[in-house]
Amino acid sequence: MKNAGLVAAAALVLATDAFVLVEAAYNRSGAPVASMQLTERELRLLRPQRESTALYLEPQWEERWPSHKFEDGPGWFDQAKLEELGYDCRRPVADAVAEASYGAMPAKDAFAVLEYRPDSETGAEDRATRSRLFPVDAGRDFAALRAKYADARRFLVVPCVVKLFYTAKWDANTRRFAPGAYLRGSVVELQVGSIAAPPGLERLQNSNEYFSTVEGRARGPRYVAVLAYGQNHEPWISSLRHIQ
């Protein structure tokens, strides 16, 4: 056929677009697999460019331990959990090349369990603008995690990206790394890290800029949204309302 290449190129565009649209429709079909009501503290507004009218909400979560408490150890995301997620941790951490070897290991896909903790539980005064979501577990089987953390109003099970970190303890007195290095994991990002924002937020400034102002910190979040996850574990904002 004379124009076979041209027809094939056009057909490829249409076929891939149709596939994408069918996948999107399937994801949002039926009841959501997970959903939770969150505020601007957990879903930060992002405008990618100064002139952009395309807006996104980025889920935020807190690490279980602040940075100055590394000496307390890996917490729940320890070597056993890393091995459960498929990391090969057989090389002793005291090995001379352990840091380079473990540092070269890439990230992996997994599911994370994010726990929603109200401010009354966290207690810190400086947390008024920070997320109330905390990662508390990770695994490769969504159904197993959902069964273990069955309270859907408190726990959100989401597809994420985890990474292994080789952590050495720094001794400020001797100015050297102290013995007792360990391996820890971290939920570094969600597989879908930016969610298309629904209409209604066009006039708002970016959340990071807003929360960096005195007025922003005093007033608090400007909207409440329901984050839903569908059949393919892909998210969308099912509803949003402004906080007066």
């Binding site: 565009v13 891939t16 994408v20 996948e23 952009s52 380079a100 879908v192």
Partner: protein
């Protein structure tokens, strides 16, 4: 015959005319009037036919202008892609979902139609080349933005679709830039698939350069007659880059060996690969293969010098050794060039 072969023929005819004039000046060859007239008539007819059918450059100044047109065409295509992206970002939020999907689906199709129209009207394919770049860019934008509109998980399948699209554009219109872009996407798709088989995220494929090696070897091994320079060039560059990265940091290798041993293995492999490229390039009379091999050899060698000597050797002595080595390499490449000419 394609446009590349036609241009080579036109270049040989121009070089032949110049050398013939030189030989006549030196008295080495004399043509009588009938021979000269027949020869000139044949050369003129051949050049006219090539120019008419393939729009080739028949003079040196035409060639230089054509280079400028190719650069302008490439820059224009890239600028058109940037304008499209920024235009969509500016007005995206005010469009409804149905309109957004319609724009995304129609953009690559309309640009494809424009590319076809330009290719049928213009033999030189400068406008078609510009539009083909914009078409490829529009298809990348299409899948990226659809994915972010519906919050879909990024998939390596997009690389496969882009790669096939690039190849379809390249073979339809005989264009090398979409071919190179398509082959890069397909190489990345293969590398991403290998990363998945090894238990990592597909997006982490650049973190293990060995993921790129099978794709590089395929590009080098495919038997071809058309676009062979693009395939071989990309294959060599990918192979050399992967080996270079692993020779510098063996921690990113899949090999079950110590970091230093892995680096040593890939340093040796790098020198062997460079030598093989130079040898094969000379034997097959493919200049760019020999040149790529020579450039990679030099880069590897200078990196070794740096790692071996920089920390302890006086600076003046280090650069003296580098310059003496460069002179040695110059002499070696001169010999290689003479052998290619023989």
């Amino acid at each position: 015959m394609d446009r590349v072969a036609a241009q080579l023929r036109a270049d040989r005819i121009r070089a032949f005319r110049e050398e013939l004039a030189e030989l006549e000046c030196e008295g080495a060859l004399t043509l009588d009037a009938a021979q000269r007239a027949a020869l000139e008539s044949h050369l003129e007819r051949t050049l006219a036919a090539l120019a008419d059918r393939f729009d080739v450059d028949t003079t040196e100044s035409q060639k230089q202008i054509s280079w400028g047109m190719r650069i302008a065409s490439t820059l224009g295509g890239l600028a058109l892609c940037a304008a499209l992206v920024l235009f969509l970002l500016r007005f995206w939020g005010v469009l409804g979902i149905a309109v957004q999907v319609g724009v995304l689906v129609l953009a690559p199709l309309l640009l494809l139609a424009a590319t076809e129209f330009a290719a049928r009207r213009e033999r030189g394919l400068y406008y078609a080349s510009l539009l083909s770049l914009a078409t490829f860019g529009a298809f990348i934008l299409n899948l990226n933005v659809l994915g972010s509109m519906f919050n879909l998980t990024p998939s390596s399948g997009a690389l496969l679709a882009w790669g096939i699209f690039g190849l379809l554009l390249a073979y339809r219109y005989g264009l090398r830039l979409p071919l190179a872009a398509g082959l890069i996407c397909l190489s990345f798709y293969l590398a991403a698939t290998i990363a998945t088989w090894m238990g990592w995220r597909w997006m982490s494929f650049p973190e293990h350069p060995e993921n790129m090696l099978p794709g590089a070897l395929i590009l080098l091994a495919i038997p071809l007659r058309r676009f062979d320079r693009v395939y071989r060039g990309l294959g060599l560059i990918t192979l050399f880059l992967a080996i270079l990265l692993l020779s510098e940091n063996g921690a990113f290798s899949y090999l079950p060996a110590g970091k230093a041993l892995v680096e040593g293995i890939y340093q040796a492999a790098g020198f062997a690969a460079a030598g093989a490229a130079i040898g094969l390039g000379i034997r097959a009379r493919v200049t760019f293969v020999a040149n790529l091999g020579a450039a990679f050899f030099a880069i590897l060698l200078y990196l070794r010098f740096y790692h071996w000597w920089w920390d302890w050797m006086p600076g003046y002595l280090f650069f003296l050794i580098v310059s003496v080595t460069s002179i040695g390499l110059l002499a070696l490449f001169k010999v290689l060039r003479a052998r290619m000419a023989a």
